[in-house]
Amino acid sequence: MNHPPKQAPFCMKSDMVVSSKELPKTDPRVKLIAAKMKKENYQPDALIEILHTAQNAYGYLPKDVLTYITGALHLPPSRVYSTVTFYHFFSLKSKGEHTCLVCTGTACYVKGAQAILNKIETELGLKAGQVTPDNKLGVQVARCIGACGLAPAVVLDDEVEARAVPDDIIKKIRTKTGIV
């Protein structure tokens, strides 16, 4: 099975504290995060909830956003960074404009999820966790999306493809992203 490559830890000194560039306050995404933090009363225990909001808004967690949250919650950067990297759900890198999430839960494994991943690798040259250089498509694996009755399942941009067939998935990805 393919693994997402481990994310290189970003250097805290240069990335999180010193170069904390101000986020544009007018950005609706920043406003969303600010509202969430206010709602949670800036409590450190709501960190994961706030990170969810941030990731929903941006699609991933950019470093300056993390710096902003760190400051607002009065938490050490190490605490935020360690939490973000602990959970699979959070990503420090863009997941791509379009995403292809291959479920590798047990039912999907038994019914050939690996064949789908192999096909994606040979056809599109992407392994799990990778994004095309133009950021058009990102491929990820999920532990289990809980759609075991539909195995093997693939999620293309939030749409679940039931009983996925490798060739069909490649075709659908090509139509969606325009990659040839």
Partner: protein, 548 residues
Amino acid sequence: MNRQELKNIISAEKAKDEINKLKQKICVCCGASCISSGSEEVMKKLNEEIKARGLENEVEVVPTGCMGPCNQGPLVKFLPEYNMYQKVDCSNIQAIVQSQLVDKKPLEDLLLFADSREKPFPDAQEDPFFKKQLKLALKDCGHINPEKIEDYLAHNGYQALDKVLFEMNPEDVIAEVKQSRLRGRGGAGYPTGFKWETVYKYVSDQKYVICNGDEGDPGAFMDRSVLEGNPHRVLEGMAIAAYAVGASKGYAYIRGEYPLAIKRFELAIKQARKLGLVGNNILGTNFSFDIDVRIGAGAFVCGEETALIASIEGKRGTPKPRPPFPAESGLWGKPTLINNVETYAAIAPIINNGGEWYSEIGTPKSAGTKVFALAGKIKYAGLIEVPMGTTLREIVFDIGGGMQSDTEFKAAQTGGPSGGCIPAEHLDVKMDYESLISLGSIMGSGGLIIMDKSSDMVDVARYFMEFCMDESCGKCVPCRVGTRMMHDLLKKICDNKATQLDLDRLEELAVYVKETSLCGLGASAPNPLLSTLRHFKKEYDNRIIQHE
């Protein structure tokens, strides 16, 4: 709202329900699986079709939770006849409506399992898939609209909460749960009543109740379906638990991968709060209980209770040594009760019907029913609920309809990465906590994956070991290092490069990791390996390089 007002609402809803019973009710499955197969589109089309025929006053279309046979979806059910249709799409709705509502007879060709059984059952309840099941936790799932509290109230919803608040004191509630012999449905099977009693006995200004909905096992979707199909039942169970142990605040920790379950549970809280069933002075009593949802962020280890608590506190989800147990010092150091979604779902019927009634279902040591998520190389995959002690053979061959064409049963995997594989010679094993342990597997949360001969058991062990290696939180050495070493050795065997020495080493390591890991993840990580070694030793031996 006080008690009388609730009673008035319930009787009004029941009266409405009685009137509605005269109507034809059409349930469209809007569980996550059926939605993925297009059930929302089907429902839209169905409504249009009914409107076009001017039948909107005679029929009621209801979106419901999971109905069971997920891989046959989208499913549509006509009540009161219980005619169920499978693989409904926009092209065949017209024919179904014509036959069912105008000609008043079921359309046989499209009935549930019509393409796989010799003759389908017009009344789906007669089909072995449903006949062998006993639905308690899932009772209203697939019948009521999970997004309407009124539907739940019409089906005796919140009656159990009403009963405990006005007719029972906390000791009575705990005694009732103890008498039911209900055991934790999250996997370990700890007696629920004893857990409640322990939390109850600790004196503290603040206690917490947590619902563990971090269903991290791959191949399991029971909690998801319960939360999506009947969120109020779980909420009611949590409120009863809070009353029994003396807590005033609850958290439901739900996987981030289940957006629909989160949405419906949050909606349920909102509706219950509006009716005064959650919040301050519930039903006019001095019992107050509020609840928040916490969304998981994808860490399997957070299913472990101390790790889950750390995660709710906004930290890395790493487990702590026990004792102290959460019952003594849990969330923010306060006594905390943690139960699984399915456990809470079992509470309301126990209170309504009595602990004794529940204890008579199932086997002497494992009472009640268990929900399983049936998947893999089986004909009818989906969500089922059976009394404890039902044999694996009944589940696979009667309920599940047997194997998919041209395949032969090889093994059933239970308990996910903490469980094991049951081979064909043990098909008659009773599905209860003890019997599964005696075979080297565990009940786990209820994932049941059926495998055929195309599954290589050594690779299955490697697959689960890879999962545990990836999900190990890294806190204790036996788990962090041990799972990697075992994975590498298993990989070596899979690649036909291992010697007998490697296999011996692997067995030795498995015991070390099992006995010395800090939490359940590490302690159970070797289970899939050990159980495949026990039942499928030959497959390992065939891979070993033989030295002359």
